[in-house]
Symmetry: C3
Subunit: 400 residues, 3 copies
Amino acid sequence: MPDRVTFAAGAQKELAPGVPVRLDRVRTPQYGRHLEAFVPGQVFAHPRGFTFQPAAMLDFARVFMQCNPLYLNAQYAKAHGFPGFPASPQMVFNVVLSLGVQNDSEKAIANLGYYGAQFLRPVFAGDTLRAMTRVMDRHERGSGKPGIVRIRTLGVNQRDEVVLQYERKIMVAPDLGPAAAPAAAGPEEARAAFPWVDEGSVDLGDLRLHAIDRSLTGRDTYFEDFEAGDIIAHANGRTITEEHLALTYKVGNTHPLHFDRVYSKGLSGAMSGEPIVFGGLVFAWLEGLASRDATENAVWEIGFTEGYHTQPAVAGDTVAAVSRVLGAEAVAGVAGGGLGVVTFQLVGVKGISAKAAVETYGADLFVKENDKKDRGKEKIPAKIFEIERRLLVKRRPRRG
Amino acid sequence: MPDRVTFAAGAQKELAPGVPVRLDRVRTPQYGRHLEAFVPGQVFAHPRGFTFQPAAMLDFARVFMQCNPLYLNAQYAKAHGFPGFPASPQMVFNVVLSLGVQNDSEKAIANLGYYGAQFLRPVFAGDTLRAMTRVMDRHERGSGKPGIVRIRTLGVNQRDEVVLQYERKIMVAPDLGPAAAPAAAGPEEARAAFPWVDEGSVDLGDLRLHAIDRSLTGRDTYFEDFEAGDIIAHANGRTITEEHLALTYKVGNTHPLHFDRVYSKGLSGAMSGEPIVFGGLVFAWLEGLASRDATENAVWEIGFTEGYHTQPAVAGDTVAAVSRVLGAEAVAGVAGGGLGVVTFQLVGVKGISAKAAVETYGADLFVKENDKKDRGKEKIPAKIFEIERRLLVKRRPRRG
Amino acid sequence: MPDRVTFAAGAQKELAPGVPVRLDRVRTPQYGRHLEAFVPGQVFAHPRGFTFQPAAMLDFARVFMQCNPLYLNAQYAKAHGFPGFPASPQMVFNVVLSLGVQNDSEKAIANLGYYGAQFLRPVFAGDTLRAMTRVMDRHERGSGKPGIVRIRTLGVNQRDEVVLQYERKIMVAPDLGPAAAPAAAGPEEARAAFPWVDEGSVDLGDLRLHAIDRSLTGRDTYFEDFEAGDIIAHANGRTITEEHLALTYKVGNTHPLHFDRVYSKGLSGAMSGEPIVFGGLVFAWLEGLASRDATENAVWEIGFTEGYHTQPAVAGDTVAAVSRVLGAEAVAGVAGGGLGVVTFQLVGVKGISAKAAVETYGADLFVKENDKKDRGKEKIPAKIFEIERRLLVKRRPRRG
């Protein structure tokens, strides 16, 4: 039952000089969790939520150089049968990942990898997402050492439909200090309700894949243009500027490592330095750089896995992208056979062009950095990211 | 009576080489006012106005790390009974303050303080604000010295309802040069119409304070969690980048000190240097940094007073915030007793974390810089801002 | 006929280690064209398109300091009879120009000039533009030397109405390497359909030029305030920051010279250096800096010609603007005689204030840089841009 809220505050009087300063009453709320605070089975509901507005969706797509007109052009999206242009999956991932930072990783040392991400439903203008995380397991490695926590996170819209779910491993330090601030960061629900979708299925609604204006995309990025083994060195790089601090805020990430130089320079030893670019943004820029040659004619990003940030990036770094086709399979029985699934390995480098990276490092560029030790290979300092991603791509339209 | 405006311009011919250059016809329009041009009683109507679009409102809230979901999440705002999410009061203040710069302070030397600000009505998407200022008094201090002008500014929406009003003191230099450009900056109305609200009352419409998704905000930021004397050192800082130049433009501020390095480096003596961050933006960042621990569960910012920018900030500075609770009073007879008024002293520092600032400066951090001389205390160079602000905060919901 | 697209992808398996790396299958798609690939008569349909959202339109207007409330204030625009606020012509130009980069100029060495631009229809929120280019002629200058290509580009909205058309000359290098990537950038249509408007006519719909709130604009920027010969040195400058990299992306420009430092530093000789600010953005900033004194009371930008970027700008440069009135002619028979056409020469400088530029360079500031050699004059290194632009400006309203 609503109340009419009118409130006459009266003139505001100055109070500060008359209120004694109580240095015994200082509190310093902390966010994120130390290792011990991750209990398998726990479910955290993440704070705030995020409403998607069309201008912000287009803005994200453009700042990250998305070339698929599905995310840039309302006419094109509607011609396909979407009610409007969807948010780019990169934006959805960045937002859901960021919603979870306060509970999951604001105290994490390192993001160890993304696994099994699935984009299940498009996000349209006006949708509001919220997110939640379940702790799957916690692996401690002995006294005082950081441990590894495996979590699952999902984002739901205002109709409680899951739009994205993924798994993540993070490296978290144990709580070495006196029991200062308890895990008060955000509410937690011990209830088991965590609607992870076990047999994930993308639902894009009713789509039309014909009668599309083909002049808006390239001719060489249809399903038939990708064969397992193909390697595409994407022409342009992107110099990341200090814009990344504000962009971190714009997607809602609260980790000071990305926007607080007093914090980042205060870290110990080798970790001390400039604010690190939030990995979600790096992934988005690399995906954008690849999009013109790889995903212009995709109708959906099904998901990704085995994603690793292998070196950090800071403002001033120029990133470039290479894509390697890992597989291409036609899809029967959907949309009249007009779609196929293409799997890409996306590799990001910094300080070097994509073409030069392939020429310089050759096959080693595509060996997982985590596997290099076992295979007696050196890590590549210029390599910053790798991931495998699957997309639903249109087949080349027949003439007429 | 509308006219159909169609106009055939014809091909555009090159004209410049044929028009003699008339160096005797150079004009250099000036904006802002010198001290003499502020006449008590005068009312200025400020130019341009500002239309609030939802994506820009969300964008402002996020760039300034607002954590109250009221400004981030349409579902949450509507659940409270708002027609949509309101613009953050910080954005409203920045816009109204900026609308007045061209008439009021584009020639000002210093912004001496904000007083008695009251946010009277929410601003929603689609609202257009315009602003006006009345000169209250002018205090001259003798030949050639800058004087102090006290002004009142208010912002009205398209229904002529006052959404914000406040008082400001600015330091303005006298006109030392020959009578160059008269006060031609913008129209002025000598009419007395200036709808300042004497008995200000916040009107938020019909609100529901129950049945809200509590998982979207923290558990420790309800009315009952704040007691006069509490001091909260907010965990994260924010490194301000050169983004502030574009942000100054985005809120409509025309003062070159903030975005014109030729101008800022051309100032005399100690004032010469890098563009200074517009104070309204600094206030917004500090308010955002405080929001996660202080205002997540607020339903409205009633207003603020005694606000001073005590040191400038430039790109590269990292700002941090400390809040001190000055008072907490339950509000009877409104919204079923579900609200209380909390008054905070918000202090901003640069180059140091909030926690370190409290540890280093202790009680002196909370003594007004303007009072320090009289009290035989040194000013704190790291302290950049202080203000007292009042908010309407929700009481903790009862279980069930 | 739409199909319901639901697709069960199944769990994503890691594939990369099992797919052999095929270094013989590397491709490096190229964009833009070498000189030989411009064939007179060819028509290119440009990719992607661009949907205009209101928040992005307001954001562009503000970031580029547009002072005409037509582009900032929905109430003001509607009072004139527009259905809403139109996109600033600067934004429309930047978007259409950028849409063409991939086909036209991503390999260009230099942008030699803009000619005969005409803004024929307003662009409103919700409009989607796409663009196309016809090659007019190609002038080769001998073996291995860059040649000059003249192209016409037009932007159409979703109703296939032309909103903007202009001509451009670009300097393009011949293809000196082995015939690597063919002109695969985007589709090309050999069909003659290119709806260039020969007798261009602005159609603004039904406008009301009376009953406008005059307090929102200045008093000195009506048609009667401009006389051929007047020179206006605009007070404020604008320091361009690294924001320009993201802004290049936001308008859709894919040329790495503007956002890829590995690319820009890899250029040979004197061209090597920092990313250059995209000229369209420079023009927009200069136009914005001029707007408060020149175009506040304009109702439309008819078009521009003879536009040249005479020196590059990089992040850190402070740009300033000077306007010279080349002509002012009343328009009979339209809108009850309430409009006039004013033609301005807009000159941009860097590193110096507008006033100082006029004092330092005098009449030479307004001599076209391209004409200086013939006239035995030195070029001005501080001069970055010049153009002639025509606007439809309101006459001063009669009292009462």
